[in-house]
Structures are given as structure tokens and as C-alpha cells.
């Protein structure tokens, strides 16, 4: 009898999973993805046309059809190899998206994720190089410390906001710069630089994320990063939807005044939220760097391009994933997929940056469509005044009934 109940429950939740309404929220994201890809392909076509007409001078002629093929084939271009590559690249993206998305959900814009990633990576490197421990303990400790340090980094931003009323975006941007130079200071000051290359030293094998020898995990860089990311997604899902902590954080995010009225400690919640967000970003940073052959390059530009960019990508991932943990998972995978396709564009004589064009368009559209979506859902839109002026007609339609006092 008990089993029967249980089975029925499981069946129900499986059925729920396939209810179309559950995915309605994803529709705008999917539409934007469609737009982005179409736009990317059009751009490729125009480039091809201009090259054929001789307007562009190129060393090698772009191959349009082949290009579109490899772009869309994404992570399936080289079988398991490229699938493994995609999963590998997706892990930090998912975590960064989770970090930003979680903060979004609780009403905060954690643009400080890039800095927290640097701090997470920096701490992992420091533990990796300065502590010697046998294998599982070493990387676990490095990972853990990375997470904690970045959590504190996030907490600082939260505390500045909660206690001193410094807007988190301002604090975040400052902390991002501070993080780079802190990293340089600590790395240079503690002899962790490879003077031959001006990068950080190679981490010992014990401090690298384990590979595994089975299936996908035997390929190239592939490591347990993606598993950690998926676990983090599950944990965040549970926190947000099943716990009192998530309940409070969401309440503060949705309506700070009402949460205050209900006796919640909004200040503490802001700090907790930023700390958790920082921890997720730190996890992304540690996972990013605890890989053989991956280093911090000691220039600001390289840090921005190679490490912090993951944090900025996190904003895109969160946006595309509608700030939901599950959304971040799919959006992160998607971003890695399309980047992978972009990488193979090398073969078709297109620039790999084509993938970035596509993602940029997707982000624009999804930013727009979340706004549109919000409108449909009778959400209060906080567009700035000028925008309101322009879309006033649409606005009138949007802020409609259902919420009359």
C-alpha cells in the first residue's frame, strides 16, 4: 500500500515534469536562442557574400554551408572528444550562472561574480601550491577554501550594502578590481610565478580535479567539474524551493518591505545571499583553475579575458536561464555548445567569435523578452523613465488589472 502511494507520487511528479505549463517560462529564452542563431547565420552569409564579391579581402575563402554545419553541430563535431570539451567548458559557466541567478532571485545583482571567481581560483592555487597533502584531500581542501574565500568576498559586498547602504553594483565593480590586484600581490609575493612565462606555476597533480578513466571522463581536460556543477544545481534548487532559507531570501528579493514587515532580517538575508552567491562563483573559479595546463596570467587583460569573463558570462547564463538553477544548467550547456560550434568555425575560415555574436544577440533578445514576458505576466516593470515614454503604449496594456486594490 505504501509502495503504491509512493509509486503514484513518483508517477505524478514525472507527469508534472512533462506538463507544458512548466516550460512556458522557457519559451522566451528559446525564442531568443532561435533569433540569435538565425542572426548569426545571416551574418555569416553576409560575410561570405562580401568575400565572394571581393569586398573583403581574405586569405582563405569562408565556406558558408560548411560553417553553418559545424556551428550548429556544436559539441557533436568530433564525437566524444567535443562532447567532453563542451561539458568541461560548461561546468564553470553553469556555476557562474547559478551564482548570478541566485542573487537575482533574491533581488541582488551580483556583478561581482568575476572577482569572486578570481578569488576562488586564487585560493585554490595558493592551497594547491603551498600546502602538500595526498590526492583526494588536497584538491578537496583547495576547492573548499576557494569556495569559502569567495564566499567571504561576496559577503563583503553584501555587508557593504546591508550595513552601509552601498549599492551592490558599485561595490561589486570595485571588488572586481581589488580581486585582480590582490591576486597579483599574493601570487607574486609568495613565489607562485613561473618566471619563464609570467603565469602561475603548475599545480601538483594532487591538487587537480580528478579525471576518472571511464566514459566521457577519459577525454582530454574532462574532469568531475560538470558533476560538481550539477550537484550545485540540485542543491541550489532545493535551497530555493524547499527550505526556509530560500523562502526568506526569495521573499526579500521579491518584496523587501513586506519581508521587513513580516519580521525577517533583511540585512542578514542580503549578506547571506551575497555570501552564497560568492561561494558559487568561487566554486566556478576553483574548478576553472584546478586543471592541468590552466594558469592565471599575470596581466590585467589576460585575467579579464580568461578568468573574469566567465563571471560576466554568468550574467548571460542567468538571464537566459531565467535565474532558475535548472535554467542555469541548460543555459550553461547551451553556451558551451554554441561556443564549441564557434570554435570549429576555425575550420570553415570564419572567426570563432561568431559564437560570441550569436550569444550577444541571444542575450539582447532574452533581456528584451524577459521584459516582454514580465509584461505578459503583469509584472511591475522597472524600466527607466525614458524607456517608458517610448513604449508607453505597450505599457498601458501591460500593467493591467488583476491587481486592483
Amino acid at each position: 500500500m505504501k509502495f503504491k502511494n509512493f509509486a503514484a507520487k513518483v508517477w505524478q511528479s514525472i507527469k508534472n515534469l512533462f506538463k507544458p505549463s512548466r516550460y512556458q517560462a522557457a519559451v522566451p529564452s528559446l525564442i531568443s536562442i532561435g533569433f540569435g542563431i538565425v542572426f548569426g547565420i545571416l551574418t555569416m552569409f553576409v560575410i561570405w557574400l562580401l568575400a565572394v564579391l571581393g569586398v573583403f579581402k581574405t586569405n582563405n575563402m569562408p565556406e558558408f554551408f560548411y560553417g553553418v554545419g559545424v556551428l550548429l553541430a556544436g559539441a557533436f563535431n568530433e564525437g566524444m572528444d567535443s562532447i567532453a570539451d563542451m561539458l568541461f567548458a560548461a561546468a564553470p559557466l553553469i556555476l557562474a550562472g547559478l551564482s548570478v541567478g541566485f542573487a537575482f532571485k533574491t533581488g541582488l545583482f551580483n556583478i561581482g561574480a568575476p572577482g569572486q571567481i578570481v578569488i576562488g581560483g586564487l585560493t585554490a592555487i595558493t592551497i594547491g601550491l603551498k600546502v602538500s597533502l595526498p590526492a583526494p584531500w588536497h584538491w578537496m581542501l583547495a576547492l573548499l577554501c576557494g569556495v569559502l574565500a569567495a564566499g567571504i568576498w561576496g559577503l563583503i559586498i553584501g555587508a557593504l550594502k546591508a550595513l552601509l547602504n552601498v549599492h551592490e553594483v558599485v561595490a561589486s565593480i570595485m571588488m572586481n578590481y581589488i580581486s585582480i590586484y590582490t591576486a597579483f600581490l599574493i601570487i607574486k609575493g609568495n613565489g607562485m610565478v613561473n618566471t619563464q612565462t609570467s603565469q602561475t606555476l603548475q599545480l601538483p597533480a594532487s591538487a587537480l580535479l580528478p579525471h576518472g578513466e571511464v566514459a566521457l571522463f577519459a577525454y582530454y581536460d574532462m574532469n568531475i567539474g560538470i558533476i560538481i556543477a550539477i550537484l550545485a544545481v540540485i542543491v541550489m534548487y532545493i535551497i530555493l524551493h524547499k527550505t526556509t532559507l530560500g523562502y526568506q531570501l526569495k521573499a526579500v528579493g521579491f518584496n523587501k518591505e513586506a519581508s521587513k514587515y513580516a519580521g525577517m532580517n533583511t540585512k542578514r538575508n542580503i549578506m547571506v545571499s551575497m555570501a552564497i552567491s560568492g561561494m558559487l562563483a568561487g566554486l566556478a573559479g576553483a574548478i576553472l583553475i584546478m586543471v592541468s595546463g590552466k594558469y592565471f596570467q599575470l596581466t590585467k587583460e589576460a585575467m579579464m579575458a580568461e578568468i573574469m569573463s566567465v563571471g560576466f558570462d554568468g550574467i548571460s547564463v542567468a538571464l537566459l536561464g531565467l535565474s532558475q538553477p535548472i535554467g542555469a544548467l541548460f543555459a550553461g550547456l547551451f553556451l558551451a555548445y554554441i561556443r564549441q560550434g564557434g570554435y570549429y568555425l576555425n575550420l570553415a575560415n570564419y572567426m570563432a567569435e561568431m559564437a560570441d555574436v550569436i550569444t550577444a544577440v541571444i542575450i539582447y533578445f532574452s533581456a528584451l523578452s524577459t521584459a516582454l514576458y514580465a509584461i505578459v505576466k503583469n509584472r511591475k516593470i522597472k524600466l527607466e523613465a525614458l524607456k517608458k515614454l517610448r513604449i508607453s503604449r505597450r505599457k498601458e496594456k501591460t500593467q493591467d488589472g488583476g491587481e486592483n486594490v
Binding site: 586569405n59 582563405n60 565556406e63 554551408f65 560548411y66 553553418v68 554545419g69 559545424v70 550548429l72 553541430a73 568530433e78 570539451d85 567548458a89 597579483f184 607574486k188 609575493g189 609568495n190 613565489g191 610565478v193 618566471t195 619563464q196 612565462t197 609570467s198 603565469q199 603548475q202 582530454y220 581536460d221 586543471v291 592541468s292 595546463g293 590552466k294 594558469y295 596570467q297 599575470l298 596581466t299 590585467k300 587583460e301 589576460a302 579575458a305 580568461e306 561556443r339 570554435y343 570549429y344 576555425n346 575550420l347 570553415a348 575560415n349 572567426m351 570563432a352
Partner: protein
């Protein structure tokens, strides 16, 4: 509706898999490092050499951009190049050392040319250069020496130096420059000003406002010429030189940068393009001789100053003659330019009766404990 979509998707996929059999066949491949082929410096020089050789000889060629900066990403880019039909892969820069170490055994039928580095494991424990790999290093200290010598000989006695990062190749430029400047001062019997605070590793190869401000401050403090061995950051120094009052100069690096700014008085040429060409000539002329490291210095024609000295103004002919003379001396082995260690620079200066220990220390900082 759903079925129609599915059918459409399937049709698309099949079309793409059909056309996807293309992909070309490019024999000569270059992997760019983070800079890209238009970095006005290292990547660009190499690429121009490749283009020149390939168009003259009707070879197919192509460059590949790695996914990110990491050993594995470089290795994967090499794999992609091989998939694109590469028979010879040219990689500019020491960042490729670890990737080439692995690639040379992974793809024994492909030839590798590693410029500015030697293959080794990530922990530097094992160095190995297989028969299909050739490493090309340059004697940057020699051309740095010429640059310093020419500058002082041309009457510029207050000097400064911008290095991108304190990596060996850049240090060699700087140390040679110091040596050359003091050597010329000794020759001419003049005193030069080159304090340690006017010798700087910027920590970046990218043009930044900070670098420009620094250059501007130096110039207004009396510095007449800055040797900018700093890739793109050189353009910051050039901008500052143009804006500064009085005649202020920059010495370019890697390729002839006189076209980039009127302030570029001369450039410390590093024949990366020529090196690429000669490697390609070996390969296609069946005279490939791998498994070794060649060092291109003055003798081999790997480093030099450009032939045009007109920016030295009235002194042009004089400076040119002096440069040619000193070049011959170095080729003949009469002058041994110190390389990238402080000991040899220190000894060199002591020989000239100069003591500027602070500058020597700055040029090759002692490794942190």
C-alpha cells in the same frame, strides 16, 4: 505541426552533414596565442612570413585560434589544425612549449616549428625535442644592444625601458639595451642617464592609459627615448612621445614599427617572419632537420636594426656607420653581449667602469623566495 518541425530539423541535419564533408586542406598552419594575427608584433610577424612564403610558392595556409589560453586548449587547436590538413604547424611563443611537447609525439607525421621556446613538460622536469620539431630562439640581447648603442650614438643620453613582462626574451632585450647604451657612452666618452626607476616591466603587453601616463611622466622628467619591448603597450609610449614637448622617441620592437608612429626612431627587429620562412623552406625543400633548437642571432641574420636611419636626422649617416661597425664586431665575436642574467650584465658594466647596480637588479629581478 510537431511532426513537420521534426521533419524539417531532420532535413536540415542531413543537409549539413552532407555539406559538412568540406573543411579544406591547409598544409601550413599557425596557431595564434592570445594576441591574434593582428597584434602588431609577434603573431603578426610570424603570420606575415607564412603568408609571404605560401603565396610565393602556392601553398595552402591557415591560422587557428584556440578556445582559451591553456595548455590543453593549445593542444586541441593543434589537433584541429591537423584535422584541417596541416603538415607543418608553426606556433609563436613560449606559451606553446607544453602543448608542443605532447603534440610532437601525438602527431609524428606532422612537423612543428616552435618560435621562442623549447618543448617541455608542464613542471619543466623533462625537455624533449623530437625529430619532427624545430625550436627557434632569438638573440634578443644582441639587437637590444644595437638599439641602446644607436640611441646613445645618435645623441639620446637620457634613456628608459618598457618591458611587457619579466620573461626571459624580454629581459634579454632590456639587458642588451643597457649594455649597448653604456658601451656607446664609453665609446663616445659621454655620460648617460639611465636610473633604475626608468626601467620597468609593465606586467602587460596591452596598451593601457597607465602605461601612457608613465611614459609621459618619464618624458617630461627628461627621458629622451624609451625602448618599448612590450608588444601593443609600445603604442602607449608612442602616443605619449608624440604628445610630449620636445623631440621624444620610442624604439620599436619585433618588427619595423616606424610606420606606427613618427616617434619611432628605430626598431629592434626580430626576424620571426624570416624564421618561419626559413623553416618552411627547409620543410618543402626536403632539408628539414628537426630535433634541435636553433638560435638566430646577428650572425644568422635573425636580429638587426632596420636599414633606414633617417629619423636620426643630421646624425643619420654617422649612426648608421657606427651601427654597422658594432654589428660586425658582434658577428666577429669581439663583443660578447650579456644575455638575460644579472651576473653577466654586471660584469659587462664593471668592465666599462660603470656601476649602476640598481638598474642591473631591476633588469633581472631576483626570484622571490
Amino acid at each position: 505541426m510537431k511532426k513537420a518541425l521534426l521533419a524539417f530539423a531532420l532535413a536540415l541535419i542531413s543537409v549539413f552533414t552532407l555539406v559538412a564533408c568540406s573543411g579544406g586542406n591547409y598544409e601550413i598552419a599557425m596557431i595564434t596565442d592570445s594576441g591574434g594575427i593582428d597584434d602588431k608584433s609577434f603573431n603578426q610577424g610570424t603570420w606575415e612570413g607564412i603568408v609571404e612564403y605560401a603565396t610565393e610558392n602556392g601553398k595552402t595556409y591557415k591560422y587557428y585560434k584556440p578556445r582559451e589560453v591553456s595548455d590543453t586548449a593549445y593542444l586541441r587547436a593543434i589537433k584541429l589544425a591537423v584535422r584541417g590538413g596541416a603538415k607543418i604547424v608553426i606556433t609563436p611563443g613560449y606559451l606553446f612549449e607544453t602543448a608542443i611537447y605532447e603534440a610532437q609525439t601525438l602527431y609524428p607525421e606532422v612537423k612543428f616549428v616552435l618560435i621562442d621556446g623549447e618543448p617541455h613538460t608542464a613542471d619543466y622536469a623533462t625537455y624533449k625535442t623530437e625529430a619532427n620539431t624545430m625550436n627557434i630562439l632569438f638573440d634578443e640581447h644582441e639587437v637590444g644592444f644595437y638599439a641602446g648603442y644607436a640611441a646613445v650614438y645618435g645623441g639620446l643620453t637620457n634613456l628608459g625601458f618598457f618591458g611587457g613582462m619579466a620573461v626571459p626574451a624580454v629581459q634579454r632585450f632590456g639587458i642588451g639595451y643597457i649594455a649597448g647604451a653604456y658601451y656607446a657612452a664609453d665609446d663616445l666618452g659621454v655620460t648617460i642617464t639611465f636610473p633604475a626607476e626608468h626601467y620597468e616591466y609593465l606586467g602587460s603587453f596591452a596598451p593601457t592609459p597607465e602605461a601612457k601616463t608613465k611614459a609621459a611622466t618619464w618624458y617630461s622628467g627628461g627621458v629622451q627615448v624609451i625602448f618599448a619591448a612590450a608588444g601593443g603597450a609600445g603604442s602607449s609610449a608612442m602616443a605619449a612621445a608624440v604628445e610630449a614637448t620636445g623631440s621624444k622617441y620610442v624604439i620599436g620592437v619585433d618588427k619595423d614599427q616606424s610606420g606606427d608612429s613618427t616617434s619611432v626612431i628605430t626598431s629592434a627587429l626580430k626576424g620571426v617572419g624570416e624564421a618561419a620562412i626559413s623553416a618552411l623552406e627547409d620543410f618543402y625543400g626536403n632539408t628539414w632537420e628537426g630535433g634541435r633548437t636553433i638560435s638566430l642571432g646577428s650572425v644568422e641574420g635573425g636580429v638587426a636594426l632596420p636599414a633606414d636611419f633617417s629619423r636620426f636626422g643630421a646624425n643619420a649617416a654617422e649612426v648608421k656607420a657606427a651601427y654597422e661597425a658594432i654589428f660586425a664586431e658582434v658577428v666577429a665575436g669581439n663583443i660578447v653581449v650579456p644575455t638575460n642574467d644579472r651576473a653577466s650584465l654586471g660584469a659587462f658594466l664593471t668592465n666599462l667602469g660603470v656601476s649602476n647596480q640598481a638598474l642591473v637588479d631591476k633588469a633581472e629581478p631576483a626570484p622571490a623566495a
